[in-house]
């Protein structure tokens, strides 16, 4: 183990990459699932070890190919990305045990392997984006994960998944182009691609026009990837018509990694909160975030497809996170990062439960779900708990992050933001409430009467996430405290 300990940063990315290739090589469904399962769990363990090592001894730097930075590619783990690595690998490790049942019911052996191959490539890309300290490497990994996720979404049961994937492809590619233009401008101005080398060189020239243009390109590009209003149009269809497993995985990880990128670019590279607050970015982000919180929640209320409803809810929750970023204070960034963590847990859990309903009923239209609470009590009970957490009820994880977000606004003397956070949460209550009303207070239809409870393989991963959503509502020593330490690093641009 001591031999591998040194190479953990590379192993984090290599593990899912090799596993993805093995899935594509053998093309046997069950075997691919086993490979995916073991590599996901190992990735999670690697992320845990990395986090422990970072807590113990500080930043870990790993030179790929033995070329020293800033010339070679550096993998660099600090508290900020160790936290994100843990979110991504944890969500993945919980989802994989669930996938076997729903994927094997729909696809033949070969297609299953392609599915797992794509899944692992998304994981590879996301972990790579998070761990790398090289700007161009970020772009490469971002494309690996994006291309694979287009394919994942196109594998949905609904044929509209194809157009959704195409829409996502176009929007995602525009986003990636903007990101690479931004990186190119930074490279032209500084002659370096290493993030931390960039961070040391940028302060001298940070008000020059190309650097500001680079910041603008990066902001728009990453905002497209993370679906910030009004660049969110690809997201609802992609999540609604893709396979449930893919929706759960992407909702829990892909947007979170993009938010991490935004934090890295805004704070680490451009010299912390002082520079960020000098630009017009905070105001712009705050307004967009508030619109996202309200517009997306209101649209969510009027959706008849629950997966689509949750997708719009994701746009709204991303609004909450961006709101926290826009204040750029320690407390608000703590809120943003905690919400990143909590939202990953809650949304992944909700999509998994919907996937279980889809598995039994073959539909997630709200009107077809009447009385389903009586037939699938465990599934719907889980849905209610996660829904409460999404609303931000005290005693759940959602409350903690919204508390910090509100506190961040209060510290700036903007009490009215607190009012807006609460009212946006009330809108969340309406759309979650609609599902609860239909599921529990209406007579079951003929189809619902014949339903059985979701299979155990699908329930327990969801319940792990439910347990986490409750646990992190009481014990914040992991989620919020780590997020606070990371926020301090971000605000002061420590790297």
């Amino acid at each position: 183990m001591s031999f591998m300990q040194e190479h953990l940063p590379a192993l984090q990315v290599v593990l899912p990459l090799v596993a993805a290739s093995l899935c594509a090589l053998f093309r046997v469904g069950y075997l691919s699932w086993l490979i995916t399962l073991s590599s996901s769990i190992l990735s999670f363990l690697v992320a845990v070890f990395l986090l422990l090592r970072v807590l113990e001894q500080g930043i870990i730097s790993y030179e790929i190919g033995g070329w020293s930075p800033p010339f070679g590619i550096e993998y660099r783990v600090d508290l900020i990305n160790a936290f994100v690595l843990l979110i991504v690998s944890c969500v993945s490790a919980v989802i994989v045990p669930y996938t076997q049942k729903s994927i094997s019911a729909r696809f033949g052996s070969t297609e299953q392997s392609w599915f797992y191959c794509m899944y692992l490539l998304v994981l590879t890309g996301l972990l790579g984006v998070t761990i790398t300290g090289d700007a161009f490497n970020i772009f490469v990994f971002l494309e690996i994960s994006s291309l694979a996720s287009y394919a994942l979404i196109a594998m949905g049961r609904d044929r509209r998944g194809l157009t959704a994937a195409y829409q996502y492809l176009i929007m995602g590619t525009i986003g990636a182009t903007f990101i690479v233009i931004g990186i190119g401008l930074l490279w032209a101005m500084t002659g370096t691609l290493n993030l931390y080398d960039l961070a040391s060189r940028l302060p001298e020239i940070k008000s020059s026009r190309p650097v500001l243009a680079a910041l603008a390109f990066l902001t728009v590009g990453v905002s497209l990837k993370l679906a910030l209003f009004p660049l969110h149009l690809w997201l609802p269809n992609a999540y609604a018509y893709g396979p449930s497993v893919a929706s759960a995985f992407l909702a829990g990880t892909a947007t979170k990694v993009s938010i991490y990128l935004l934090l890295r670019f805004f704070f680490t590279i451009f010299g912390g909160a002082t520079f960020f607050t000098e630009t017009p970015l905070p105001e712009i982000l705050k307004i967009l975030a508030l619109i996202a919180m309200f517009a997306a929640s209101i649209v969510a209320i009027f959706q008849s497809n629950i997966k689509r409803m949750l997708a719009y809810s994701s746009v709204a929750q991303i609004g909450f996170i961006i709101l926290g970023i826009s204040y750029a204070t320690e407390t608000s960034l703590t809120g943003a990062m905690t919400h990143m963590f909590n939202h990953a847990i809650m949304k992944a859990g909700l999509f998994l439960l919907l996937g279980a309903i889809m598995f039994r009923l073959g539909s997630v239209k709200i009107e077809e779900l009447s009385g389903i609470g009586r037939k699938m009590p465990l599934t719907m009970a889980g849905f209610v708990i996660l829904g409460l957490s999404l609303i931000g009820a005290p005693g759940t994880a959602g409350f903690i992050s919204k508390w910090y977000l509100g506190l961040g606004a209060l510290e700036q003397g903007e009490w009215w933001i607190l009012v807006l956070i609460v009212s946006a949460s009330l809108l969340t209550m309406i759309y979650i409430g609609r599902v609860v009303e239909v599921a529990y207070f209406r007579e079951p239809t003929d189809e619902v009467v014949q339903l059985k409870e979701a299979p155990l393989e699908m329930l327990w991963p969801a319940y792990l996430l439910i347990a986490a959503a409750i646990y992190f509502g009481f014990d914040t020593s992991f989620s919020a405290d780590l997020a606070r330490q990371a926020a301090v690093l971000l605000v002061n641009a420590v790297y």
């Binding site: 290599v14 993805a20 290739s21 093995l22 899935c23 594509a24 790993y62 190919g65 033995g66």
Partner: protein, 149 residues
């Protein structure tokens, strides 16, 4: 029908070895000058695609079966990522080729050759897989075949 043109068939047969040889030249010259696995893979795939265009996709499938292609795609990635793993067993960082040879320079030389071979395999087979899946569509649709004739 293009398949009946004797000039094309003869010229293509003459060209194919030259294209493949050039692909290999680009492949092995990659560490001294311009070129490398990607370009060589594209050139080699172009040779098979050219063959397929003139002699038909089914003829191309005979020399390069689809099943083999689908296996070659991940094998190339495995060659690349496996090289990095081998570095670990030499006690070096991921993808550090220096310990492969007697000195750092020859090690790097050997390492980059193996890695580029992986790139070649994956690029070559991916290009062909794309070609097959597009070209295979007209065979799947009977109405298109009618139009061709």
């Amino acid at each position: 029908m293009i398949r009946d043109t004797i000039i094309l068939r003869v010229v293509i047969k003459l060209l194919l070895p030259a294209i493949l040889l050039f692909a290999l030249y680009v492949q092995f010259h990659g560490d001294y000058g311009p070129g490398g696995g990607f370009q060589a893979g594209v050139a080699a795939a172009a040779a098979i695609i050219l063959y397929g265009l003139v002699f038909g996709v089914s003829a191309a499938r005979k020399i390069m079966p689809q099943k083999l292609l689908f296996s070659l795609i991940p094998i190339g990635v495995l060659v690349f990522s496996g090289t990095g793993i081998v570095s670990w067993f030499f006690g070096a960082n991921y993808l550090d080729y220096s310990p492969f040879g007697s000195d750092s320079k020859s090690g790097q030389h050997l390492g980059i050759l193996i890695v580029e071979l992986g790139v070649f395999i994956t690029v070559f087979s991916t290009m062909l897989a794309i070609f097959y899946s597009f070209a295979g569509r007209s065979e799947a649709l009977p109405s298109n075949l009618e139009n061709d004739k």
